[in-house]
């Protein structure tokens, strides 16, 4: 549990926390109802609120707030609105699309002059692409709602202005949107002076609260709100609220003044810093103020007439205060907007400043020496780095005679040439005594956690200020983390990455080959390297570039074999407590002994409640650490280039070489505007170039034992182990090491089989080995697949993999697809995604692409599957040898079913158009061909292939004709081939936010296939409960175990009668999973396949992912079934594919931390819920058994069947 949010400022004046926690602490204490919904980067605010409520933490009035998770942000806003109307103080937290969903209610809440605060971690709104990172495009969209907008620029402000927002809202009756920058502020850890309950009470007087309560809806004094008004009065009534808005700036300033009196920290609606006689002033809001203030201070100190105006209150716009704050000497005002409004004269803040100055100068022409000129620029979209050098570039531009009125800064725009040139050498000097440090690590090694602890140790137990900011890549497996830490005697305002580090640590030796680890090191820096090589040997193993940099920058190199120490002390891969003492020792932030003591205390604080073992192992690692740390005697010269990084193949497309490769190398910031697609369209198939080589162990195949079952490849989450069936002749030219065996099949004879791992794409999850059923007769532990150290096998397997790729895939119609091996002989068109090692979702997507990938369009809901499916730099969806493959798009989180239905409608419309055109053009293209195409059945692979061949002939026949019908037919002829629509998403989408649309699409009768990857939580945002979360499981937003039982989505779909519904679990019954997908595809109406997807959020050993699925089915927890609608009387459309439960649910859930942990935190509740979970399972089995015996037929008129009607 985090520190109590009610802690008094007098006992703990400072703490290190991030912006989300800082804001949530205040919001929680000042609220009675908190409606939440997860969205990055605001989710942690809701998580804190839920954790505090689960821990019984009271608000300022001694009550534990009602914290409720809703089905969407729209739902959260609605619930908030209701709570406010009933007189309860309320809040919510959101970002980006979530804020957009709240907007309708925000208009209502404001229109009713209802005090409330929404805390927003401001984030880019999805346009050509989704971005989870910070800018103001979301909050700018809310500026018309009537909510006041108050912007914080730092973690301290996120806390302080959160209080000001709540106080001012209650006083003014105008609701407040309190915003701070996503990630830069929401996730930056800073040393913050905490607010205590006294401070809150001082700002929120009882009278304001009581005045709010007096307006509550109550039957004791009934009123009515929400009338419908006619043209006669609506307008006037709208204007009636004006005085309240006019009063807001003064009320906010009053709250800020009272805050200053209480805490000593003073804020203004606008705050000016810089030269009192400045001629050039930058105006901006949010975290950029930190970087800008540093630049302006340096420039002003150097005599430049420059200043910065930090805007805090954005709506109602404090025009008067803004104008008054500008020095009268100002000649040029540069307004920076962190948003883009295509087609506008300028971005919103720019326009506001232009108007404010214009009005002021009209009113009083003598205000300024000369009427200031305003220029406007965009910066920092989606957390693009914003540095003092960029501020200088803006101020330099403003100094020119003819500055660009509109510009961008921070990118290289070689298309519209709007971007300013930035002097990369401009850097404000760092304060004396400050240490800047950068750490490179992997997600799994604990680097970030240790660095957060270091910030806390230094910030909370010394007088030093501390800041931590953490950069993660977009992968869920093998992800690289870079931690940027600053410690120093002066408060730290630097809202940008460390780029002149005194200390660099590389926690993973392999990263030296993947990224420029020392690029941010300053001359004479200290470099700490976790090295498997001894001090005397390490130099010869360093890549040449690293050696050169060490010599050129005179870097001091220290090494430690942290992996060995961690292993020997029982810490596994967690090297954090080995590396952390070394950092303290070398960076000399604290005396060594004190540092060790404080590190141990932080371990004690973190793990003390969870038993001694972890604590003692950490202590052992800490104690061993310093003794193993060694200084390396660096030679005078660099050796030859030892770089062994994988190179792109020559056949890679130019885009991959010129753009993708730079993104992969971490140089995306340098890519110019011209290099990027204008509309967000990317080629597929680029994940294959990434070859991240992250596995420590890979599966090695023994063909002697293999039984050709295909289970290994069907479960592989990354398509990194493949099966190919081929004619022996294909082995010509094979490397000697290439393994092969004869393929056993009753369908085809004389073929060979190879199972091959992609050594640089495998994540080493071990799922394939777990499911491999083929054991050696003489040594049972040896299976046809065994995990083996990658370094022992990589070179050989690379050669084998390359040859494997050259073997042509088996013709699609040679093996029936309804079996595991038949499906696995098909080429996967989804490969090497960034999904978690052992991911339970990706095998289903891969299987869909094997079965139908050459003829489907995918609508993908936002979530894990859209992230690993399409997060740059690369794309895992790919094409077959013909260039066919899934075409993919992600619209939103909430509308995916509708999006997919639209694709179907579009496809159907095009098919009808094509048929009509073809009928008309039949004499021209050949009656036989036209008739054959129009009458074609396309149910089997040969039929589909035959139609493709006919359509190709049609296109050939149309070639060269330029009559309108022919041109149109050419454009839509592809729709004559059978194409499927797959609508894919997680349970958060299907059960919650997108359920309304999903339900509607199910009733549409249209031929869409819906695949729900059911992880039973919101996986992508970190495991929040959804309505798919089962009773008794612990999840975020259900910290004390979910009370309600899981929604039976399949039952709702089955109720319609004409929807194909299946529940599958590939690890439990792979054949059933394959059959269900084939049946879903074949069913001409809507199909819903709910796939049990093991997830890291289940708290399981992911290498045993499939064994968990097996137990899920064996216990009856996840019954397998297929509901195949039929028109035939006397049929039983519901087929229960599971065997009756053979183990108690207890045995299944005991191995999952999401259940097991409840027994440790709430033992009695765990017992109670466990009994109910078993009862749920028993009852459902009983119910399903009865369903299996029931006859049901789709009502139909005599005549053609639904199947026939649905055919083209």
């Amino acid at each position: 549990m985090d520190e109590s949010p009610g802690v008094s400022a007098t006992t703990a004046p400072f703490a290190c926390l991030d912006g989300n926690e800082a804001a949530a602490r205040v919001a929680y204490r000042l609220s009675e109802v908190i409606a939440i919904y997860p969205i990055t980067p605001a989710s942690p605010m809701g998580e804190h609120a839920d954790d505090w409520a689960a821990g019984g933490q009271p608000n300022l009035w001694g009550l534990v707030p009602q914290v409720v998770e809703m089905q969407s942000e729209a739902g959260a806003a609605g619930a908030l609105h209701g709570a406010l109307q009933r007189g309860a103080l309320g809040t919510t937290f959101t970002s980006s699309q979530g804020l957009l969903l709240m907007i309708p209610n925000m208009f209502k809440v404001a229109g009713e002059l209802t005090p409330a605060v929404i805390h927003v971690a401001a984030r880019a709104v999805a346009t050509h692409a989704l971005s989870i990172f910070g800018d103001h495009s979301d909050v700018m969209h809310a500026r018309t709602t009537g909510w006041a907008l108050l912007a914080s620029g730092s973690v301290q402000e996120a806390q302080d202005l959160a209080l000001v927002a709540h106080a001012a809202s209650l006083r003014s009756r105008v609701p407040f949107l309190h915003l701070f920058d996503g990630f830069r502020t929401s996730h930056e850890v800073d040393k913050v002076a905490l607010l205590g309950d006294d401070d809150l009470r001082a700002l929120v007087p009882d009278d304001d609260v009581l005045a709010f309560r007096s307006r509550a809806l109550t039957p004791d004094a009934p009123v009515l709100r929400g009338t419908a008004q006619n043209p006669d009065v609506f307008f006037q009534a709208r204007e009636a609220a004006n005085p309240f808005y006019l009063a807001v700036p003064e009320i906010v300033q009053d709250a800020m003044d009272r805050f200053a009196a209480q805490t000593g920290r003073r804020y203004g609606l606008v705050d000016y810093v810089g030269a009192p006689d400045a001629e050039r002033v930058v105006v901006l809001m949010g975290s950029a103020a930190g970087a800008a203030e540093e630049a302006v201070e340096v420039l002003a100190a150097a005599g430049q007439p420059v200043g910065l105006l930090k805007l805090r209150l954005y709506r109602p716009f404090p025009a008067e205060q803004l104008v008054a704050a500008l020095p009268p000497t100002v000649r040029s005002v540069a307004v920076l907007d962190r948003t883009k409004e295509p087609g506008a004269v300028g971005e919103p803040l720019y326009l506001d400043v232009v108007a404010a100055l214009d009005e002021a100068c009209d009113r009083d022409p003598g205000l300024f020496t000369a009427r200031p000129r305003v220029i406007g620029g965009r910066y920092g979209l989606a957390s693009k780095e914003f540095t003092p050098a960029m501020v200088k570039a803006v101020l330099d531009e403003a100094a020119g005679e003819q500055p660009r009125r509109h510009f961008t800064v921070g990118i290289h725009d070689d298309v519209t040439h709007l971007s300013l040139d930035v002097d990369p050498e401009f850097r404000p000097a760092r304060p004396e005594g400050e240490v800047q440090a950068v750490f490179f690590g992997l997600g799994a090694d604990g680097t970030v956690g240790a660095n957060k602890a270091s910030v806390k140790i230094i910030g909370e137990s010394t007088d030093l200020w501390a800041q931590g900011y953490f950069v993660y890549d977009s992968k869920k497996s093998g992800s690289v983390t870079v931690s940027h830490l600053r410690f120093g005697p002066e408060p730290i305002r630097s809202t940008y990455l460390v780029d002149e580090a005194d200390f660099v640590a590389c926690h993973q030796f392999g990263l030296l080959e993947r990224m420029p680890v020392l690029a941010r090191a300053k001359r004479g820096a200290t470099f700490l390297l976790n090295s498997p090589y001894a001090p005397g040997e390490v130099w010869d193993h360093l890549p040449g570039e690293v050696q050169e940099t060490i010599l050129a920058k005179e870097i001091e190199l220290w090494v430690i074999d942290a992996h060995r120490v961690a292993r020997e002390t029982g810490m596994g891969a967690r090297i954090n407590t080995v590396m952390q003492p070394c950092f303290f020792q070398l960076a000399e932030v604290l005396p060594a002994e004190e540092a060790i003591a404080r590190i141990k205390q932080s371990v004690e604080d973190a793990y003390g409640d969870r038993g001694r073992t972890i604590v003692e192992r950490n202590f052992a690692a800490i104690d061993r650490s310093l003794a193993e740390l060694c200084l390396v005697d660096v030679p005078n010269a660099a050796a030859i280039d030892r770089s062994t990084a994988l190179r792109l193949p020559d056949v890679a497309p130019d885009f991959v070489k010129l753009v993708t490769a730079r993104l992969m190398a971490g140089e995306g910031d340098l890519v110019p505007v011209s290099a990027l697609p204008v509309d967000g369209t990317f080629a597929t198939g680029t994940a294959a170039y990434e070859r991240r080589a992250i596995a420590q162990e890979i599966p090695i195949w023994d063909p002697q034992i293999c039984i050709d079952c295909g289970k290994c490849t069907i479960v592989c989450p990354h398509a990194a182990i493949r099966m190919k069936v081929y004619e022996p002749g294909a082995l010509e030219g094979a490397p000697d090491t290439f393994p092969t065996k004869s393929f056993r099949s009753k369908d085809i004879q004389g073929y060979s089989l190879t199972i091959q791992v992609a050594p640089d794409d495998c994540t080493g999850c071990g799922v394939c080995v777990d499911v491999c059923p083929a054991k050696s007769k003489v040594e049972v532990r040896h299976k046809s697949l065994d995990m083996a150290p990658v370094l022992d096998h990589r070179d050989r397997e690379r050669v084998n993999w390359d040859f494997f790729g050259s073997i042509p895939p088996l013709a699609r119609d040679l093996l029936p697809h309804g079996s595991v091996k038949g499906s696995q002989a098909l080429e996967p068109l989804f490969e090497f995604s960034g999904a978690c090692a052992g991911c339970g979702e990706t095998p289903y997507i891969k299987l869909v692409t094997q079965l139908f990938g050459d003829r489907i369009v995918i609508a993908n809901a936002t979530g894990c599957s859209s992230i690993y499916g399409a997060n740059l730099p690369t794309t895992p969806y790919t094409t077959d040898g013909e260039g066919r493959g899934p075409a993919w798009n992600n619209s939103l989180f909430e509308d995916n079913a509708e999006f997919g239905l639209g694709m179907r409608l579009g496809l159907d419309a095009q098919r009808e158009l094509a048929r009509t055109l073809l009928a008309g053009l039949a004499p021209a293209v050949g009656e036989d061909l036209a008739r054959a195409i129009l009458d074609a059945e396309q149910e089997t692979e040969p039929q589909i292939f035959a139609q493709r061949e006919r359509v190709a002939r049609l296109l050939a026949a149309l070639d060269g004709r330029d009559d309108p019908d022919a041109r149109h037919l050419r454009a839509v002829a592809g729709a004559l081939n059978r194409q499927g629509v797959w609508i894919i998403g997680g349970d958060g989408w299907a059960y919650d936010i997108g359920f309304g649309g999903l339900d509607h699409v199910l009733t549409s009768g249209r031929n869409v296939n819906i695949l729900v990857l059911d992880t039973e939580v919101y996986s992508n945002t970190g495991g929040q409960a959804s309505k798919a979360t089962p009773r008794g499981a612990v999840a975020k937003f259900a910290a004390s175990g979910k009370e309600a039982t899981k929604k039976d989505l399949g039952a709702i779909a089955r109720a319609y009668g004409n929807v194909y519904v299946a529940q599958i679990a590939v690890g439990a019954n792979d054949v059933q999973a394959v059959k269900a997908l084939l049946e879903a595809d074949a069913w001409p109406g809507p199909s819903l396949v709910i796939a049990y997807s093991t997830c890291i959020a289940h708290g399981i050993d992911m290498s045993r992912s499939m064994s968990h699925q097996k137990d899920a089915a064996r216990s009856g927890y996840w019954p397998l079934y297929r509901f195949h609608p039929t028109e035939a009387e006397g049929e039983h459309p519901f087929r229960l594919d599971s065997h009756p439960p053979s183990i108690p649910v207890r045995d299944f859930v005991a191995g999952e931390a999401r259940y097991a942990v409840l027994g440790r935190t709430h033992p009695e509740r765990a017992e109670h819920l466990a009994a109910l979970v078993q009862a749920d399972v028993d009852e459902r089995w009983h119910y399903y058994q009865q369903l299996a015996a029931m006859e049901r037929a789709i009502p139909h008129e005599p005549g053609p069947s639904v199947e026939e009607e649905a055919q083209p």
Binding site: G611, P773, V780, A1039, I1096
Partner: protein, 343 residues
């Protein structure tokens, strides 16, 4: 009136029927039923040091897996203020059992490290257990270690634990010591206040379909009592009255308890029969015991105890090898096994 009272490890018990380690004794509700049915004491399920460590490490691993990998999900579980470990729960259960029951609660410990045994023993003692059973469950699989070395370790451990706690310590032994009588006497000399004979090892089984090794837990059968009967009979006179002896394995009925008492046990412990028939079966056993005592005109347990031990039986050799021979002679091979198979 038949006097069922007995003394075990210095604890005064109302009867010699003790509910031994099992699921029923680790749960307050079922323990209450056991006590109500007449169990004179309960032995809690063993606390395994390996389980504590494994549980802590695995749970932490699971809760932290995936943390700080990915910007949208810095972790996957709520932040818990207190997460009880297996040890915490065990200690809590001792407290709950003590306040719910008015019969002695005996904690049971299986350690894995020298420090672990002593440390955990002290924690169990502080949590309020009335006695401590050391469950010496280890297989001597290391071919480089002699029986003498293994036994010396065991004895040192017993001595350390006895010295570290101030409650009675009883040692539960497996039957596989090559010099059982000698080891038993040395265990007592090391400070053990009593011995529990014997630990039943759960033997692994094989699944012939998958060729996996599968753990198999079978409830005991009445015939299994014969091994403890023999050894208690032999050890009772060796150890003298100062050392308590408990018979366990195969105690299913009043007659079984009577047998245990006859050879010299102070108490008889039962688990399997209670799991099969429910906690209330204790009453049945007690009723049967009373009936047997009445029928044989024993007025008290004290009178029964040890009346057929190695030193008091009519035929001491019957407890030794002769017994084995006679058993074999009494076996008659079924004729079907002797007939010549037809070709």
């Amino acid at each position: 009136m038949t006097d069922l009272r007995t003394s075990y490890l210095g604890l005064d018990l109302g009867s010699p029927i003790v509910a031994s380690a099992g699921p029923l004794t680790g749960n307050v509700e079922t323990a209450r039923r056991l006590a109500a049915a007449g169990a004179a004491a309960i032995v809690m399920p063993s606390l395994f040091e390996e389980e504590i460590v494994h549980d802590e490490v695995e749970l932490n691993f699971a809760l932290e897996a995936g943390a700080e990998h990915f910007p949208e999900a810095l972790d996957y579980f709520p932040r818990f203020s207190v997460v009880d470990s297996v040890l915490d729960r065990y200690l809590t259960t001792i407290g709950e059992l003590k306040s719910a029951l008015d019969i002695p609660v005996i904690a049971s410990l299986n350690g894995a490290s020298p420090g672990g045994w002593v440390g955990y023993a002290q924690m169990l003692s502080h949590a309020g257990a009335d006695a401590l059973e050391l469950n010496l469950y280890r297989l001597a699989t290391d071919p480089d270690r002699t029986a003498a070395e293994v036994e010396a370790d065991d004895l040192e451990l017993i001595a350390e634990v006895v010295a570290a706690v101030d409650l009675p310590v009883v040692v539960k032994l497996g039957p596989y010591y090559s010099a059982m009588a000698n080891f038993a006497r040395r265990a007592a000399a090391a400070g053990a206040h009593g011995l529990v004979l014997f630990n039943r090892f759960y033997q692994p089984d094989l699944d012939v379909e998958t060729r996996d090794v599968v753990p198999r837990i079978d409830l005991s059968q009445p015939w299994e009592l014969r091994l403890p009967l023999r050894w208690i009979a032999i050890l009772r006179p060796v150890l003298g009255r100062g050392v308590s002896l408990a018979a366990t394995s195969g105690v299913h009925s009043g007659a079984d308890v009577a047998k245990a008492l006859l050879v010299g046990a102070d108490v008889a412990m039962t688990t399997s029969a209670l799991l099969r028939r429910g906690p209330e079966h204790v009453t049945t056993i007690e009723t049967e015991l009373r009936a047997w005592m009445a029928e044989h005109e024993y007025g008290s347990v004290a009178e029964v105890r040890g009346s057929v031990s190695h030193s008091t039986s009519q035929d001491p050799a019957a407890f030794e090898r002769a017994n084995y021979l006679r058993t074999l002679h009494s076996w008659t091979t079924p004729p079907t096994l002797l007939s010549t198979p037809r070709s």
